[in-house]
Amino acid sequence: MTSSLRTASLSRRGFLGLGGGIAAMGALAACGGTSGSGGAGKLQLVGVADQQKAVEQLVNAYGKAEFEVSFAPTDQVQTSVRTRLGAGNAPDVHVVYPGNGSAMSMVQISAAGLLADLSDQPWVKRIPSTLKPAFQNDGKTYVYSAGSSVIGAVYNKKVFQDAGVEPPTTWSGFLDVCEKIKAEGTTPIALGAQTPWVTQLITYALVPSTVYAKNPRFDEQMKAGSASFADSGWAEALEMYLELQKRGFFNDNPNGTTFEQQTAMVATGKAAMAIQVSAVLPDFRKQAAAEDALGMFPVPGADDEKNCWIPAGVTVGLGVSARSKNLDEAKAFLAFLGEQKNMNAWAEAVACIPLTRDASSKVDPVLEPFLPFIDGGKAVPFMDQAWPNAEIQPAHFAAVQELLGGRTTIPEALAGLDEIYRKKS
């Protein structure tokens, strides 16, 4: 998402807030230090917790450099890496969100000249052209990512079976399925909107069909100022979002329910499904009765199957600090990550679809229904990856919470988003 995971992580791990609070930051004075920050030779790498499994595995496999590796929840990483970028001493390799739209995104950081150009690496040539905007700014590639995550409905197979329903392929079919599950006394859709990043997922699942299937040039027109959120399929998508609420398809009090509570509801069958990003499948599975108790299907955002598109965002990646003292070693490590087998390994560790696939690429079986959309050009990046500043996404989170709480109206909310979109920077 910018997102792929940025969103998922931006606030997934965000429950933690950042440490710090009362006190200040810092330390200093010259009284003899033990070691400098990742002095020559050792590569310093700071990632978000979502990447930990994949990165640790590949760092161990690399063997050509020594590493100082560290991970933390999104908010803490964002605070510490931004501080270090601002102070001119970033880690050699650090987390970067593809595209634009967040304070840690590729466009924002590369625009300040703080990311090393990776354009000459072999894997760059394999980036599918539709995904290039997520990786490139002004024609140069600044971020590595292993693949794409999709947003869809994670569902409990047993609940579907008991209600006698199958994954739907049209919006009215989707509403029917919810109605039948509701009639069985089960909550059709678990929604954990207390956790900010979760709020956006239903919008993101619908907007590809309500906006991009009809107008693939929407992002360009937004940039040019000839389109707006308010006068687009965004309004339709939010109406559909609220229709689900009006019909009683969500759990009670979604604004007070957290992501963790949402996963528990689906895993235990208290709810039939959750509209979620594929990267969090492991979180659902840990609580489920069996590994294969859960399935996933694309949320059909239109009544005409041809107009059903899906969101597939490039997953959170890594960049190299332009001022790294170990520039060559750091770049060499990223080139290594770009080798197909390593992309496969990373993708498998974070349950995403590899950037490019070969015979040995494994795609999580529950993601198979999504492949035809991706291969058929009916997948669009997560919306925020194309947004020009970092304030729009949090404003969308807040707007959804206010809509769910009945505190604002769709036209008002979208007018607000348009205003923030037009802000400079």
């Binding site: 609070g21 329910t257 709480g405």
Partner: protein, 318 residues
Amino acid sequence: MTSTIGSATATKGAAPGPGAAARRRRRGRRFLTPPWWFAAPALAVYALVVLYPALAGMVYAFTDWNGLGERNFVGLDNFSRLFGDESARGSLLNTLLLTVAIVLVQNGIGLLLALGVHTRIKSRSVLRVVFFAPAVVSPVMVAFLWKYIYNPAPDAGLNGILGAVGLGGLRQDWLGDPGLALWSVAGMVIWQFAGYSMVIFLAGLEGVPAELHEAAMIDGAGRWQRFRHVTWPLLAPAVTINLMLSTIGGLKLFDQVYAATNGGPGYASETLSTVLYKQAFVFGNFGYSTAIALVLALFVAAVSMVQVYYLRGREVSG
């Protein structure tokens, strides 16, 4: 009996008068006064770690820096933007409400707990530990735990307990109801720090001489009268410290709010410190964020000075 802060001003005016006796006193005092270098190491470290960085950081408040690239001097633009910023005003109101709730309730509960354990009850030592223990846990962890306590489902967390004891009607959507989220955060903070206030009051109570109580009892004073006329006036310094610490803590409260609600739902629990954090690290408006930080610091300093001034007056007359 002067409070810690109070005595600072109390001694200030003690400048010696003219005359030989005064000169002798002054020489005597100089002989007895510790040398300046006692303060030097602290001053040096403090200047290096706190003062210099804060002064250097203030400069950003007058720039349009995004925290990454170039910065341009923009004069007072960030400050004028702040005063016209509707959402900043909303967060200021939230900050004040939160602070008032925490100051009143945390100290009220703290005082009751202190009075309760400052008796002959057998469990008093254990209870002191129980009530203070939450204060030693990291606030971020406390917020994480309380998100489970505040689960809106009827059979979980606090709602589950309310249901189990027959108070099901009081079940709430603790963090999801925009009218309630801020108060739920306050409740969590009060749970964590009521024991902290208790300890400070307890310290004050231990300073109340038992003879005074006995004398009052012989005079026929009832419980409430003894509290009102004997205990309460002598608790004044404890009250001052407690109010000052909880006010500063409330105004600067960040970890708990950010970790529990992230300012939501919507903007319902946004405070000055969550806004300044988001502006700096989420939105990339570092200059603007620094301006908010400066205004917050001035505001906290002003509030605590007024408070100390007023409370010290009460101590003297009480």
